[in-house]
């Protein structure tokens, strides 16, 4: 897929954005006086900014691209990632957990674990978090550079280094505040850059009712537009793409996600969602930078408002794309991009000497994409006859034979379809902005955890504040360089990257059980928490090794269950098991081990030992509990409307 030629106006918009983010960095430099300014924005940011940054830190480009892909693949049920998998957890964080994060002396989530338990839990959490952020920012930058290469033909290495350099400069100058400011800027860029695309898509399809009718057509034969068909012997009901809950109630085999109700509600809605929103320092750090307790508690609540309506921007386009593909308007879902490598050329030559089906299979394997048999056979015959053919021509012809879809390109295929120069520059800049702010977010969380939880805690305690500030700057540079290294790693070892992400999934799955018991039961002991967490991580690994879904997992000799219809279901169940085992182990071990901290130590860290918080000032309607209730009611209403 090609985005088409960029005009002067497109480059100008891109340039203006870069100039402004750098300008913000330089303007904030004066406010960076000590390490608290650099790592925690001096705890002086108003709630509307931390709120938008809280949501935006999660709305990276990968989210935008991935959720649109899911919108196409699964339809409206994708909004469960928002209405079930985010809003309740955000409200819980605001009302119950924020007082402990903000009210205790902790400067980071791992530091809270140290105050509540001991160094072991903190060490485990901070190291895994630090490594994870570096990988996350590396993957994000790799995707950006790859996208610019594919769409615009820009050089991979130059894009990677220049974008990283821009992020480096503004984070070095303005620290966390820079990252938070650009996240908010990015949020508005995404909304204002993609809203016209959604509007035009909706107009093109012909409105909501036509969309629903067309999606019924899709549900009857998903294979026709290149979606994966339901398991043998099953048919999706007509509302599989247009109802959020009904297909889910009919069991895992009868909805395109392949997920059952329990996995969705408990696995995603409770374990994964609360684990992410309530314990991930990347997002919690934004709330901790708020100017006072009230602002900190309002942060996730303010974030919940745009989060709730975001599906219009990120899921609807995917649904529109699928509907369009059925309407004969000259649009089909984007095919997977292939690259003709040496391996493919060898396969081509060998294919000429084989039976046709085998030849097609050989090439399909070398290209890592499903091919149309008849077309590929024709290509083999054409090229086998010639000696020394044109590689570019072959690439073009083979690309035409690819039937496998790349759903990650859905959003860009819509941008290409609807955006003339000008709007194109705006949408492209929005995308670039979200990739860069994703990197900045990860790097600022990384440098804080490194400096406070690893460097100050274990390597160089009792140094001057200026020294830690210096360390923060140094580690920012190191963090960016490590991210670039990870980007190259991702470029070269695609599969290794999947394994790494999987391992982090194991580590994160049980985490919420530790926090839940730690914050709400004073009897939780340090040993109980640490061993419970390790047990939870082991459970996730074992679970993955002993179950299979879509050919993934099952790397242990003993298999317990191989019938998960989708990796998503496997993942949700894995999290559920990890959580339960961590919970039970922590509880059990805490009952038989001695507490090392007395009630006085745990004041401000555990719910029952902390004096009730009095909300200062403001009308009653703005109290966190009231706001939270309103949000939950609104969220329930949305679920009901799209039932």
């Amino acid at each position: 897929m090609q985005l088409g030629q960029l005009q002067f106006i497109d480059y100008a918009i891109l340039a203006i954005y870069v100039i402004f983010v750098l300008g913000i960095g330089f303007a904030l430099k004066r406010s960076m006086k000590n390490s608290a300014d650099f790592f925690m924005s001096g705890r002086a940011i108003p709630a509307w900014i931390t709120g938008l940054a809280f949501m935006s830190a999660n709305l990276g480009a990968l989210e935008l691209v991935g959720m649109t892909a899911c919108g196409a693949k699964y339809g409206i049920a994708t909004s469960h990632f928002y209405w079930v998998g985010a809003i309740p957890a955000m409200v819980f964080l605001a009302i119950f957990m924020m007082p402990f994060y903000y009210g205790s002396k902790a400067r980071s989530v791992p530091e809270y674990l140290k105050l509540r338990f001991d160094e072991r839990t903190r060490c485990l959490n901070s190291i895994s978090f630090a490594v994870m952020t570096v990988f996350a920012s590396g993957i994000s930058m790799h995707c950006l550079a790859q996208l610019l290469d594919q769409l615009l033909g820009w050089n991979y290495h130059i894009s990677l280094w220049i974008c990283s350099a821009v992020v480096l400069v503004y984070v070095l100058k303005g620290g966390l505040t820079s990252a938070i400011y650009t996240e908010v800027l990015q949020f508005f860029m995404i909304v204002l850059g993609f809203a016209p695309v959604v509007y035009l898509g909706m107009k093109d399809v012909g409105g909501w009712d036509v969309l629903k009718t067309q999606l019924t057509v899709v549900a009857q034969d998903p294979g026709a537009v290149g979606l994966s068909a339901p398991a043998a012997g099953h048919v999706f009901s007509d509302n599989a793409w247009t109802s959020a809950w009904q297909p889910l109630m009919q069991g895992a085999l009868n909805n395109p996600m392949g997920v059952d109700l329990f996995a969705m509600v408990f696995g995603l809605g409770f374990v994964l969602s609360f684990g992410y929103w309530c314990t991930n320092f990347l997002v919690v750090q934004r709330a901790m930078a708020a100017r006072n307790m009230t602002a900190a508690r309002r942060t996730p609540l303010i974030a919940a408002v745009p989060k709730m309506i975001l599906p219009i921007l990120v899921i609807l386009p995917g649904m529109l794309a699928v509907a369009l593909a059925t309407m004969g308007k000259g649009y089909s879902l984007p095919a997977k991009q292939i690259e003709v490598t040496e391996k493919v050329l060898v396969a081509m030559e060998e294919a000429g000497k084989m039976k046709p089906e085998q030849g097609v299979e050989q090439i399909s394997k070398a290209l890592k994409a499903k091919l149309d048999e008849a077309k590929t056979e024709a290509i083999i015959n054409k090229f086998a006859a010639k000696s020394g053919f044109d590689k570019g021509e072959l690439q073009k012809q083979l690309q035409g034979a690819v039937v496998e879809k790349d759903f990650n390109n859905v959003i860009l295929s819509l941008v290409t379809r609807y955006c003339p120069s000008g709007m194109l520059g705006l949408a492209l800049t929005a995308l670039l902005a979200s990739f860069m702010s994703g990197m900045a977010g990860n790097v600022t969380a990384f440098n804080t955890v490194w400096t406070y939880d690893l460097y100050q805690a274990y390597m160089a305690p009792n140094k001057s504040d200026a020294h830690y500030m210096w360390m923060g700057r140094v580690i920012t540079v190191v963090g960016i360089l490590l991210s670039i290294a990870c980007a190259y790693f991702a470029k070269n070892y695609d599969n290794a990257m999947d394994v790494i992400q999987l391992v982090f999934g194991f580590v994160n799955a049980p985490l919420f059980a530790t926090f839940l018991l730690g914050m709400f039961w004073s009897g939780t002991t340090a040993t109980g928490a640490f061993v419970g967490l390790l047990g939870g991580i082991t459970t996730s690994a074992l679970f993955h090794g002993m179950t299979m879904a879509e050919g993934k997992g099952g790397w242990l000799p003993i298999h317990l269950y191989d019938k998960f219809p989708s990796t998503m279901a496997q993942n949700f169940w894995l999290a559920s098991f990890a959580f339960i085992s961590c919970f039970v182990l922590t509880l059990g071990i805490s009952l038989v081990t001695q507490r090392t901290k007395n009630d006085e130590d745990l004041k401000g860290l555990v719910y029952s030992l902390t004096p009730k918080l009095q909300d200062q000032g403001g009308p009653w309607i703005l109290r966190p509990a009231v706001l939270g209730t309103i949000l939950l009611v609104a969220c329930a209403a949305l679920n009901y409307i799209f039932w």
Binding site: I24, Y181, Y418, S421
Partner: protein, 69 residues
């Protein structure tokens, strides 16, 4: 500390103005077949401009309120 609304307002006003002017210059051009016959640059440029100016207005208002204190 720098009020974020200031740079944000400036940036969107600037981009909005550019898109509006570009939309006027390319009025009736072939490229708008893509956007279903709507001069999306002009209309969306004006929207961005309005958003940018609103942000600038809020920033000024906040600064004035700060001064009164």
């Amino acid at each position: 500390m720098l009020d974020l609304r200031l740079p944000m307002g400036l940036m969107f006003s600037l981009v909005g103005t550019m898109l509006t002017i570009y939309g006027l210059c390319t009025w009736g051009g072939d490229q708008y077949v893509k956007s279903l016959g709507i001069n999306i640059n002009l209309w969306w440029g004006l929207t961005l401009l309005a958003f940018g100016l609103a942000m600038l207005g809020l920033a000024r208002w906040a600064a004035a309120a700060e001064k009164d204190k």
